[in-house]
Symmetry: C2
Subunit: 764 residues, 2 copies
């Protein structure tokens, strides 16, 4: 009894929900997966969908140097590259897996010895405050990160609540111990990115302030409150920018224990005397609203808690969330892949509001989320494909709140558009399409969304899809396609718009809005306008109606596509694969065409154009590392050869996901790559979100139980499962043969039991 009372409440809660002792899922999470090369994941500490992502940064590469793009920047989308040998510090915000970036706010670095206020170089870490480290002295876990900073002999540990990063630094004996707060640091920084920063030292333990940037997010401000467990003996805020005007502040020596700093390039440091092994903890809270909001968040989430308590709670929350799927795999490696993928899908979108519900909206005003949790970081061109459909099964409550967050964005948008790629009260307009409509349609089709809310959402979808000045959309509406002489990536845009329009039509149909259905189902046919029968590929079309003369379907750049050539992206008609296959010459011809894609050799000149992926990120000419191909392996299901889907998806799971730092062949893209893996590992995939069907593949799990929020359990079993038995010889649902190539959403949510009979032989 006493023992149980002493357990953290959250653990008890978890036990109460599951009705049993919690399993240890987090031991199968390795946040280092994807930190090498192209994965762009970060290894640091966070909680599920947490607002704070506290993680080591190994370098800061400027995005622009004198207005010229610096290619090195791209490697540092998540701040950390596994091959680096030094760490510049620990910052509090990171995207997971993106292919463009921002953030990296508020770098903290503990040091000892002579004060150095420049980070120094990778080549010679001793030139600055950065420190060498070794992976041997590094631990990355769900909710916890640890590393020895060799140059300073400091053990650094990180953990987090949703809004508070908690640091613990174990110092050697020193009368020159420092903790640096660097507001100049950032990810995808460039000269002038810091629009304004502000630091205020309140007493001898507390610091508040903010950073306002102009980057991927054009107008973004993050506020912070920071509290040391021990008073500092001395501090300084240094301004590294040329001050054109100091006014009467010249009355003060602003660098000598002066409590207020403001400017574009600030670094502060705090000095301590430390005994051997002395630990200093730092709580660092964020807010999208104000420094008072950050203080409120800190109090609400960490009052009375030390590092160990916060760490325990963070890991308990992770264990609980990961327990939404209980999977048995063939090997620990597979299990690590599975739970790390699940971990990665639970990183974003992130919570974006103070504990009282206040947040800054895209109209730059402060709003209050009433009755829902507000989220940000919507990488929708990526995540509409599998991540949000995955949430519709595994995290439907959160997914509905994500829809509400998108609607709040819409309400605040001067364009009356749903988000395209949004983060932190900003639309960054990255990539193409208007895929919020897919996420919302999928939610309307699959979940019981309140009718009034659904109708309001449909209005938003329609308004968004009628914004003529958006990215070739006016031409698309007038001509039925995006003309290549008027807009870039023309074919990709037409294809994505056509799919999005179909998604709108589905929602309209369910809501009984026939006129809207008619308008958008017609638009959803526009993909046909790019079909060039003479070459058998989708092809860019000019505004005069002729096809573009120069065209190479193997090339990715400047051929009317983006992040995918015509071989890959040209197959993007997820809402009507049958029609597309018919156009391509019928089932068998198409099956052979896919075979060619998976087995061709992509010449180096064309590989070089393939963004965001390593050579390992492609199979033949199939590029798994970029999203437009994610449905492709499942297209065999519309031919006479579904066994090829089974073979391909097992091959992709083996080739493209490894339990190693370089285990992701392309950007994880806020969990989309991982969501593809999880669906495929469970044996099915949502080819067209907005459709309630999931196309069957070949499960990788031996058995998996999905603990649904409605209290039911959906079970997948693979009988005779092995690495060789990748083919499915038969499927039963609830004990009865399943004579279709898909599961429905209802099959899952009703707590179905699906049994795959696995075999070494394809069922041709």
């Amino acid at each position: 009894m006493i023992k149980i009372l002493a357990m953290p409440v959250i653990l008890m809660l978890s036990m109460a929900i599951s009705g049993q002792s919690p399993k240890n899922y987090i031991r199968y999470v390795d946040p280092l997966i994807g930190t090498q090369k192209m994965g762009h994941t970060y290894p640091g500490a966070t909680v599920p969908f947490g607002a704070v992502q506290l993680s080591p940064d190994t370098d800061q590469q400027p995005h622009n140097v004198n207005g010229v793009y610096n290619k090195e920047t791209y490697k540092y989308c998540a701040g950390y590259q596994y091959d680096d040998t030094s760490i510049v510090g620990f910052s509090h915000t990171h995207f997971s897996g993106t292919g463009h970036s921002d953030l990296g706010d508020f770098l903290i670095m503990p040091t000892t010895g002579k004060l150095q206020l420049e980070p120094g170089t990778k080549e010679d870490p001793s030139t600055g405050f950065r420190s060498r480290f070794s992976h041997d002295n590094e631990t990355a876990a769900a909710g916890y990160y640890k590393v020895l900073l060799e140059d300073h002999n400091i053990l650094a540990e990180l953990t987090a609540t949703s809004r508070v990063g908690v640091h613990r630094y174990t110092f050697p004996a020193s009368d020159q111990a420092h903790i640096i707060l660097d507001l100049m640091h950032g990810i995808y920084n460039y000269e002038g990115k810091n629009v304004w920063t502000f630091v205020r030292v309140e007493g001898d333990r507390r610091v508040v302030g903010y950073r306002q940037t102009n980057g991927w997010a054009r107008t973004r401000t993050v506020y912070f409150a920071m509290e040391f467990s021990k008073p500092f003996k001395n501090y300084s805020i240094k301004n590294f920018a040329k001050m054109e005007y100091r006014g009467f502040w010249r009355k003060f020596n602003e660098e000598d224990n002066f409590p207020e700093g403001a400017g574009k390039q600030l670094r502060a440091y705090f000095d301590f005397d430390t005994k051997e092994g002395e630990q200093i903890e730092v709580k660092f809270a964020l807010s999208p609203v104000s420094t008072n909001g950050a203080l409120m968040n800190m109090a609400a989430e960490t009052n009375g808690k030390n590092f160990d308590t916060v760490k325990k709670e963070a890991q308990a929350v992770w264990n609980k969330e990961l327990g939404r799927i209980d999977a048995e795999m063939l090997s620990d490696d597979d299990k690590t892949n599975f739970y790390t993928a699940l971990y990665h899908t639970f990183l974003s979108p992130t919570e974006y509001m103070d504990v009282d519900g206040q947040y800054k909206g895209i109209d730059q005003n402060v709003h209050k989320a009433t009755g829902f949790t507000n989220y940000t970081t919507f990488s929708l061109w990526d995540t509409y494909r599998a991540l949000h459909p995955f949430f519709n099964i595994v995290q439907p409550k959160r997914n509905n709140d994500m829809v509400r967050s998108m609607m709040a964005h819409y309400d605040q948008s001067v364009h009356k558009m749903l988000p395209v790629w949004s983060h932190y009260a900003n639309e960054n307009w990255c990539m193409i399409g208007y895929h919020s409509v897919s996420v919302i349609s999928d939610a309307i089709i699959k979940n019981d969304i309140d009718k009034e809310e659904a109708n309001r959402a449909l209005d938003a979808m329609v308004q968004t899809a009628r914004t003529k000045y958006y990215d070739g959309l006016g031409y698309y509406m007038d001509l039925g396609y995006v003309p290549d002489d008027k807009n870039s990536s023309s074919v990709s845009k037409t294809l994505e718009y056509a799919y999005d329009d179909w998604a709108i039509a589905q929602a309209a149909q369910k809501l009984g809005k026939k006129d809207i259905y008619d308008e958008f189902i017609k638009r959803s046919e526009n993909w046909r306008n790019h079909w060039d029968a003479s070459i058998g590929f989708m092809r860019p079309k000019m505004s005069d109606g002729t096809f573009r003369k120069e065209f190479d379907p193997l090339s990715t750049h400047g051929q009317g596509f983006i992040e995918g050539n015509a071989w890959n992206y040209g197959l993007y008609v997820p809402h009507d694969p049958a029609a597309m296959i018919e156009m391509k010459g019928g089932k068998d011809k198409f099956s052979a065409h896919l075979d060619e894609l998976f087995t061709m050799h992509l010449p180096d000149e064309f590989f070089a154009e393939t963004e965001d992926v390593t050579r390992e990120g492609i199979i033949g000419g199939y590029v798994h590392g970029n999203e437009p191909s994610h449905h492709v392996a499942y297209l065999y299901n519309w031919t006479n050869d579904p066994w090829k889907t089974q073979e391909r998806v097992r091959m992709i799971m083996k080739n493209q996901y490894k339990p190693t730092p370089d285990g992701l062949g392309g950007n994880d893209d806020c969990g989309q790559m991982s969501a593809w893996y999880l669906f495929s590992a469970l044996g099915f995939y949502p080819v067209a979100p907005g459709n309630d069907q999931y196309s069957l593949g070949s499960p990788l799990v031996k058995k998996a139980v999905v603990n649904l929020e409605n209290g039911k359990k959906f079970t997948v079993e693979a009988v005779n499962q092995s690495d060789k038995n990748v083919y499915v010889s038969s499927v039963t649902l609830n004990g009865k043969p399943l004579n279709r190539r898909y599961l429905t959403h209802a099959d899952i949510m009703n707590g179905g039991h699906v049994v795959f009979q696995m075999s070494q032989e394809p069922k041709k």
Copy 2:
């Protein structure tokens, strides 16, 4: 009855209060007084203490050019110089009478013909959107301004509520009518002053946005909402700054009717077709909090009101406020001086909160003023002398709220200091001393301030006065003076600190805090430490205790004083004139010394050093245009020659205040110069705020009735008044001879009746 019902409510209210038809006071207000040369007043439209000061700017001079101060800037502290012949537009925020500046937010300019987006030059207005104008076609009145913009043939009219500027432009027939919104314009601008600006066009009539600057206020943001009475046909937001990073916004043509602009250098324009004589009205609301706040303010103050209604109400409010003193003067010129001075004293501090009480605090958080109106723009080194004491009689409720606003500043200050020179959630630290303590002490001594509130205020005063890192204060506390080798303007600082300390002691005494009284009454003696008996002047002292060797009491620069030489500023011991006079050699010697000051010739080389005043701003060596001398003429009252006070103050009133654009010989300094005039015209002056005595002078009024907020009437009568009869032969209070040289605050607030018998002969 019907007639009365049709009157504006505010007028009826005014009548109800006064119990009679309102007199027309505003006909004696001429806002052009002080707009030429050094007065630094603005001629535009505002309401008493209004947050919006909508006024024409005749030029914009950069404060810094390549880091070098531009002397021309100074002329444009209020945006307008009477001698200029063209107007660049109408901006919404202006200081009145300051000697350093900021603001000038959101310039609006209507034009016709070919669109020009640069302001153009003074020398050739046709090079830009600015327009020539003539004073013949210009009207400036309380709450109303009108001018013909000749280059565009547009009649521009301005009026305002507290938070909303209202424009009315009468256009000629044109298919090229434009209204320009310039966010690059500003007062005391410099390269990089705009930290960020934001514009959002909502529909075809409404625009919102903000301007964030780094200037005199280091971190200041003002939000706006703008609404046209007629839809625009076309618009554009142009970014004149080099964009280092556009990101995916390059998808759009952001200059073609695109509704969202952000950057450092924005100008927008809105196109209209206009018929001959067509009027377009623009409502322009400000907020310190948000664009939604600005919209709320606009709705609350102007919904359902057109230009004419707002103008009528603004002028009615002015008439009501000016009616607080009903004065009979010897001439209309004197009456114009009197009511324009009263107008100028009612311009600042300004209201600084949304209609719901929300405002941004100095900690950069949003706060709510509960139970009081929050004010900003505290030019305290100037205004503690006479403006706030004047408010203590004429506007005690507002003055108490100003004290509450200072206390809110203190509560939010990381330094735990009351304001020094604060505006818009910023401390700009301008000038010297900590004169909030004088204002608060004066309020505690004279008004019935709640005891708890007074004790809290005393704590704030004490904390402020103990901030050792502030401007030589640590030395002052340790040595008893500010040493000249450690800090500039050392003598001025010691003298001001000593007076402030005396003010703290007075409050402490009234509140029964003996220890605080003892501490600060002792500090208040520190002025003695600068007395150099060998030369008979206050003189800078070094940290080793010796006097500075080089010293010229005629010189203003680098002699240990600021804005006043030793002749003037060295007399600054307002809390103990008797002791200072004794030190100077006694009453008669001092009287002769003052005579010499008023009659000497100040050589040109020394005049050149006298800041902020014209040659007319000095009398002999007496510099009325700067504040440290404002008590000097009253010092004769401590000698055997009070008749000289009478003579001098009448001379100063005649010489230094004229009903002409160049009528102010120095900066009006947020109403301090005007408050000196009003006190003196009523026949008395508060030599030492914090003391309840007002030193008697010679009234200029024939009769004046002050309508006190307590319902009583204080009356001053000057029998036998004339321009020659400047001497007072006797004074009665309530019919009884007044045998002292001062009035007390109680004499006034009890509704006393003071009669001065005037004479052509001094009473020696």
